[in-house]
Symmetry: C2
Subunit: 361 residues, 2 copies
């Protein structure tokens, strides 16, 4: 078991990574201080791992609520089910919410914990690669609004993250690949050496070899945690983590949440960011090709739907990261070094959008 400590002063917490952690009673005794626990999970994950986690939590009062599975259910309406369960089980301020599932479960369980009685503890037990490398680090929680993703939420840090890599064996391969998109992202924005390592070990990662997977998760969390620690409330550098996301949001919104996986949209979006970075003279054509071929090897999509550049721009404009009307994008100065900029020629962005989304209708 590997342990990574996230240093956030009073809100510091450990990330524990390894196989078999969900039923490791000794480990959970340290990670979950509360005696009253509500496990928030979903209908897909519950049959696979809920009983296992309950065994690991033996000796506590454990209740569970199972939510419908899917990003389309990440709403205030579904969130109310978690509040109902907390109230029905008479959970008090000393209770702990455990999120057992992917990013959607984590975001909702974390937001419910942030709001219930104005804040109770929560622990993340992510069961997807995406959640293990991304959404379980950084303290962002929330739900979607019909007008946009994650428009309603809170910053609320977990008390611990318990990443049982054994759960990846039941993850659909498509979701594993979507998680790898975020792993690749960390290489692109912050660590060229890690990017090299991913290229060298991609086949082992796709085969879920434990040592490789644990390293990929650990290094991803380290990169993300380093950035988050510098900028907990997302005023500056943290925006780097959104490489590919603004482009990707346009894809997700145009196709309706759920058709494209988040990581898939991010993959296609990262290639667009590389394309624009090339047009601005920062990346060479060979670098863009290197990004593209790594994404293809990882089985990720690199071709956006042909919704047209104008529609794509409009959808990017509604993205919540817009600063006073100006679209700031995460680009790459070189492979392994991201930057956030709103200072680029509008034509260059338009060329990238036309190349990937097609001409305006």
């Amino acid at each position: 078991m590997h342990r990574l400590d996230i240093d956030l002063g009073e809100r510091s917490y450990p990330i524990l990574i390894g196989p078999g952690l969900l039923e490791d009673a000794d480990l959970l005794e340290g990670a979950v201080a509360a005696r009253d626990v509500l496990v928030v999970t979903n209908e897909t994950v519950a049959p696979l791992y809920l009983e296992r986690l309950k065994r690991g939590l033996a000796g506590r009062r454990v209740a569970a609520v199972s939510l419908p599975d899917g990003e389309q259910h990440k709403t205030l309406g579904t969130l109310a089910l978690v509040f109902d369960a907390l109230v029905e089980q008479r959970m008090n301020r000393d209770a702990c919410v455990i999120a057992l599932g992917g990013g959607v479960v984590g975001d909702m369980a974390g937001f419910a914990a942030a709001c219930y009685q104005r804040g109770v503890d929560y622990v993340q037990a992510p069961t997807t690669l995406l959640a293990q490398v991304d959404s379980s680090v950084g303290g962002k929680t929330g739900v979607n609004h019909p007008g946009g993703k994650n428009l309603i939420g809170a910053f609320h840090q977990p008390r611990a993250v318990v990443s049982d890599v054994g759960t990846l064996r039941t993850l659909p391969p498509r979701e594993l690949r979507a998680g790898l998109a975020e792993v690749i992202k960390y290489g692109l924005i912050a660590d060229e050496g890690f990017l090299d390592w991913i290229e060298a070990h991609l086949d082992a990662l796709l085969r879920l070899e434990t040592a490789g997977i644990v390293h990929a998760i650990r290094r991803s969390c380290e990169v993300k945690a380093g950035i988050v620690a510098e900028d907990e409330r997302e005023h500056g550098r943290r925006a780097l983590l959104n490489l590919g996301h603004t482009f990707g949001h346009a894809i997700e919104t145009a196709t309706g949440y759920g058709e494209w996986l988040h990581g898939e949209a991010v993959a296609a979006g990262m290639l667009m960011a590389a394309d624009l970075s090339h047009r601005l003279g920062w990346l060479e054509a060979a670098h863009v090709e290197r990004v593209s071929s790594l994404l293809v090897r990882a089985g990720l999509p690199t071709t956006a739907p042909r919704i047209g550049a104008t529609r794509a721009l409009e959808l990017m404009g509604m993205d919540k990261k817009v600063l006073a009307g100006r679209i700031r994008l995460v680009l790459m100065r070189r492979l392994g070094e991201g930057l956030v900029s709103g200072d680029y020629p509008a034509d260059a962005l338009r060329e990238t959008l036309v190349a990937h989304f097609g001409e305006a209708a």
Copy 2:
């Protein structure tokens, strides 16, 4: 205009108290930094004060959402209307939410501001005495759940509080009296001299004489702010502010939200706290009588509904301030000095409950 500065480090803010503030453009220019504003109000207050506030905010982009009036609408469902308005108006992270109304509007607008894009600014413009002396100070925001009041919420400090005492002229007298219950509370828990002052100036307060009202609001906010500053996240001393509230919650829950005003339930509850403090030997019978007669002079109820001691205890047990199953109550060591204690004989509490709620059915 009187100004009271609440010192909370980075989150410090001013409370501005006086007549005519809602249409004072110069004052609002200082208090509301944002250029994009969503005013959250309700169907009762909007016709009285919304246009006035909009005049005061001239030069900004101002949108408004009017909620149904009443505690029974302080729900996640009503909150969604505020999120809908924020999204529809394309308010971004630099926007400001202004709460124009009483405590219910303030709690919901503040909670929406806490969650929208994980936190935008908000300013309180309270139009009831209760909101001016209580709910606009302290940073508590939230909504009710069918299982209990304020079970879902956040701590989110306003950027400013603009208390226009002119709005009290349109307040129903019953609500004015309910606000006075909280003013009396500050005297009881923290300042015997202020209690003397209230007794001497009660008639002037009931007549809404400006100088008296401004002093009552200012001193109430000072007492509350002093306690909150010591204990922003409600781990200890802040509980003093709940004098009468745990008893009062039982009344409000038993009768359904809305029949008793919050301040009315607190008034009856404060008398119960005085009664129990007397049974514990801390207050003399004459002190309890003094509390009772002040509440009666202020036109507040001192007689609880006869729901029976057992039912009352059960309803108090579901109160969210319960610490690991034990009911901690705010009591009075003497007039002007509150204390929080779970260390009292169960029989004494039972005697108080029987005296006020009647025998068990």
